[in-house]
Symmetry: none
Subunit: 214 residues, 4 copies
DNA sequence: CATGAATGAGTTTTCATTCAT
DNA sequence: CATGAATGAAAACTCATTCAT
């Protein structure tokens, strides 16, 4: 289903996309992958089309068969990144009904998404709309889509009215989105622990209750 | 004293710097200001020397009287940004001895610094060392200087040994550093409130105590 | 008979051309039509193969089944344009024997040809041989064929020897060929009137006679 | 005064243009000259920036110090071309008050302008607004400016009301503007003769009078 | 006949940087 | 200190053309 999404994105600009996918060499996913990791590592402007071409064994010109501009490539990566976060979060939350457990699972899924080897989700966090003025509004919209998930999750918490859930949500997002700056896979910390640790104080803040243990 | 710092920075890279600083029109501060705000808004690579020249009514060539490379300009802004955060934080903490109060005051000062109209401190948060490989080590060092402040403040808290202070610190930094993304001066929220709100759960997390009220 | 010409042109450059033309969907005329109108409106270089492909619902590759190069496409349009002018002019002149009437009918036919919705003839006027060096000699030859018609028509006028018939012919061509720049079908002017108006002064110039009426 | 115009055009994009012109190497006029002749000979699209750079011993980048886009270069040439025609025509007509003599002198001046070695005016005739969609409206406006001159000249003729002066004007423009296609300096024909020959029939057409002799 | 994909050489344009004056 | 002008390397992008299927 991930593949489906990739193909559909790619098909957007190619209305005649063959139904017979086997005939296609389909460098598009590879291109998108490369773009995602370079954008996440170096940022948008420091990544050149030539570099992406080399990394995917294409010619620069070939890239423009798939995408009209470099900005459009970022948009595609961004969209895919948001989609991946949302998919993960939605999937993680699916079976669970208890609001706090839902949130906890969502936080874990979000962390997994943005710390995943595949860099799509990290791009969404790393590259701010302001970095690329030509598409900043698109990027903002895409960003908005994933933030909504957390708004919804917070709305379910049914908190005492004197607590500022908005602020809590923004703190949580900030703390989560900062993890790519310091988190190292080999650092011995597991994500589940981080997720729990992240929510404990929030719960305390919002409900006035300290969970036992940490 | 700010001026002193600016001038000294400027002098560092310019052996030709006139000894008689008073005679100069000294566009350097204006240049640095411009650079700070552009870097903070658009990032390093999306900001061009020409743009800065236009913004400061200089010619591109004139900029190179003050600074040897664009990267050096970022370094200067970065250094100034770190210095400003540290000045604020140190100043805020100065009279206070109670560790949690010190931390709370530091948080407020930090927020004030990065949300200030002058964008220096925001640059430090926005631009990651990896963005500009040529100077990444300098940037890392500068960044380190301000992170140390918080390490020190946390070290003073004398926590129960089973609490993960590192994690808490990283969460705090993340939550704080995300504020420029969402905070609007006119949003009705005052920074003091945000700072308090930010620390309450942390204290809960680290000490197992819920502050009464918020 | 037009079709015959098209098909023959098309066959010329395509040894693979199926002998059974009826089985083919034959996008060639549509392609040629599109090319004619784009070339007439935007010129040769501003018209891209991709643009033509889009306009005719073909792929760029498919165009190259019909034609070996973009230049050859222009040659084909040009040839067709010249043919169309000549057909019209010859047809118009056919029954008439009086030289001035012949010329008048030729002028009208020429105007009809170059102002026709189908842009073939307009291409011949718009695009000068020098514009496309690779085929300039072919274009010159084709152009020559239609200019000859007018040379012949002028030769029949049997003018006083002190009149400069060449100059008159060139003026006439110029005036006619400028019409696409300003003529609008809905402008209320009919071509017959324009043709008459165009010849009256010429006749005056060449014969020293003013036609009555205008 | 020509120089003044060139310099002013050039200054437009360079508000700080030094008042002391001697210090400037001022490649701008040479660039404009080159552009004019190439555009006139090969058309806009067939002329490359590199080619212009080579012809003027500049680097491609240096061209962009003077002009923001290739299109803007054409606009500048076009504007200069129109200006030159107008200057010539106005200059030629200046002392004369008799309407038909004014027109005759204007025609001669116009022919001189578009057949001049310097290709500026020829560009205006050769390159149609439709060739360069991005600036077609600017080009149309500039074209309009020089056509107005002839409208004014025709308005002064005080013709019988049953004559179509508009048509006559358009014929005249067409005949004149076609001359670059066939006129060769060494062809033995002098422009004065052409101008006279051009007007004689027009006068006949418009006034019903045949000039004696030619 | 056609297509999706690609090529490769070329195009315009950008931009940090330099330099004579 | 500053400027107008330029450089040069590299960037994004274009486009006629090709080719396996």
């Amino acid at each position: 289903m991930l593949n489906n999404r990739l193909v559909s994105l790619w098909a957007k600009g190619n209305t005649l996309a063959a139904t017979n996918a086997k005939r296609q060499s389909n460098r598009w996913p590879a291109l998108l992958d490369s773009a995602a990791s370079r954008f996440a590592e170096q940022g948008f402007h420091a990544t050149t089309i030539r570099e992406l071409a080399t990394a995917t064994a294409m010619t620069p010109g070939a890239i423009y068969f798939h995408v009209a501009t470099k900005q459009a490539l970022l948009t595609a990566v961004y969209a895919e990144g948001v989609e991946r976060i949302i998919d993960r979060v939605d999937g993680a939350v699916a079976g669970e009904t208890r609001p706090w457990r839902r949130l906890e699972k969502a936080v874990l899924a979000h962390l997994e998404a943005i710390l995943d080897k595949s860099a799509y989700a990290r791009v969404v966090i790393r590259i701010l709309p302001g970095d690329v003025p030509e598409i900043s509004s698109e990027l903002k919209m895409l960003r908005g889509r994933y933030e909504e998930r957390f708004k919804a999750l917070f709305a379910d918490l049914s908190l005492p009215p004197d607590r500022d859930a908005d602020l809590a949500r923004l703190f949580l997002l900030g703390a989560m989105n900062w993890t790519p700056v310091w988190y190292r896979e080999d650092g011995g910390r597991d994500l589940k622990g981080i997720a729990r640790e992240l929510l404990a104080p929030l719960r305390a803040m919002l409900c006035g209750i300290v969970e036992n243990g940490r």
